[in-house]
Symmetry: C2
Subunit: 198 residues, 2 copies
């Protein structure tokens, strides 16, 4: 029998992210995607049930999966709070800087009802109790190092500014001078940390 072509699978995902980044999720169609990936529309349906199934798997497996791996590199829940948060911020910045199409879909994760639902179900399924970041926050709360906010709140305070700053980074790529440098990001990170320390 004929073996599955991994390149085609990859072309589908890569081109989908490119179209989403350039034209928006609203303008991604299966036929457009097939043409961009240089395959027949039917081929997509050999690998995915339908458009929803494809988008959810693209978002959860490809985009969020890789993003989570990237931000946790060299990170440990037992790190000092300041060092740990800085590590995550810098990992995220480096990864997103070099993966603009993935970042485009990450941003849709908060707005699109389809993706948002998928994300919440994923978090509920995993119980969120095995996540190194969860442990990291828990350790620092019980040690009395940071304020005792619920985890969802801490995540909003720690993560949201970072995502917005990466957005600014990409916006500033079209302007004469980039303001979102690694130094600027470090300073911002320190501000966020300072706010959370007891």
């Amino acid at each position: 029998m004929r073996p599955k072509s991994l390149e085609k699978e990859e072309a589908i995902r890569t081109m989908a992210l490119q179209i989403i980044a350039k034209e928006g999720l609203e303008n991604l169609s299966m036929q457009k995607l097939a043409k961009a990936a240089n395959i027949s529309p039917r081929t997509i349906y050999l690998k995915y049930e339908n458009k929803e199934d494809f988008l959810i798997k693209l978002f959860i497996e490809e985009v969020l999966g890789n993003y989570e791996s990237a931000i946790l590199e060299d990170f440990s829940p037992t790190m000092d709070f300041t060092e740990g948060v800085k590590k995550i911020w810098m990992n995220a910045f480096q990864y997103l800087k070099n993966n603009k199409p993935s970042f485009a879909l990450i941003k849709y994760g908060k707005s699109s009802p389809l993706l948002n639902k998928a994300y919440q179900q994923k978090n509920i399924k995993q119980g969120d109790y095995f996540s190194p970041i969860h442990n990291f926050l828990e350790l620092n709360i019980t040690a009395g190092i940071i304020k005792n906010f619920p985890h969802d709140v801490l995540r909003a305070l720690l993560n949201a500014p970072l995502i917005d700053l990466v957005s600014e980074y990409f916006d500033y790529l079209d302007r004469p001078q980039q303001i979102i440098t690694e130094e600027m990001l470090t300073e911002c990170c320190e501000s966020v940390i300072k706010g959370l320390l007891k």
Copy 2:
């Protein structure tokens, strides 16, 4: 001659926001919108050039316009920094809490290339120099009260966590206990402020 019906104009905008909030911007079509607003598709085109024109005007005029008015209520650029930021946060929370459909489109403002482009052009057009918030930040920087970050950076640090916390508020509406209360939001606001003070 027959006068324009303001109710129809309003129905179009209201129903559009409802569809976007429930099904996502991806699933808003002109025909679906017309049916929901109980009018002919053609009627939308009497008031807007095309779909893009409609979405941009809905976003800029209706949603962002009302949002900006709401957050600036009883705010003054000469307020004490802590008081000013708290005022803006609470105004935003009260407004968004009661305008979930508008909030849905605000979130798309960062992800959808169409809306994002419109937003940036609006900001560039206005020069951003007349905004009370701009003046507020400028005053507090020059007075040496807060760190000297670029305005876009300050906006990310001040605004992004708030938007994420409002998202959490809506997510928690489906759960037994709401964690995003006004008290919680005040504490979060204080954390953010603490991080920015010199």
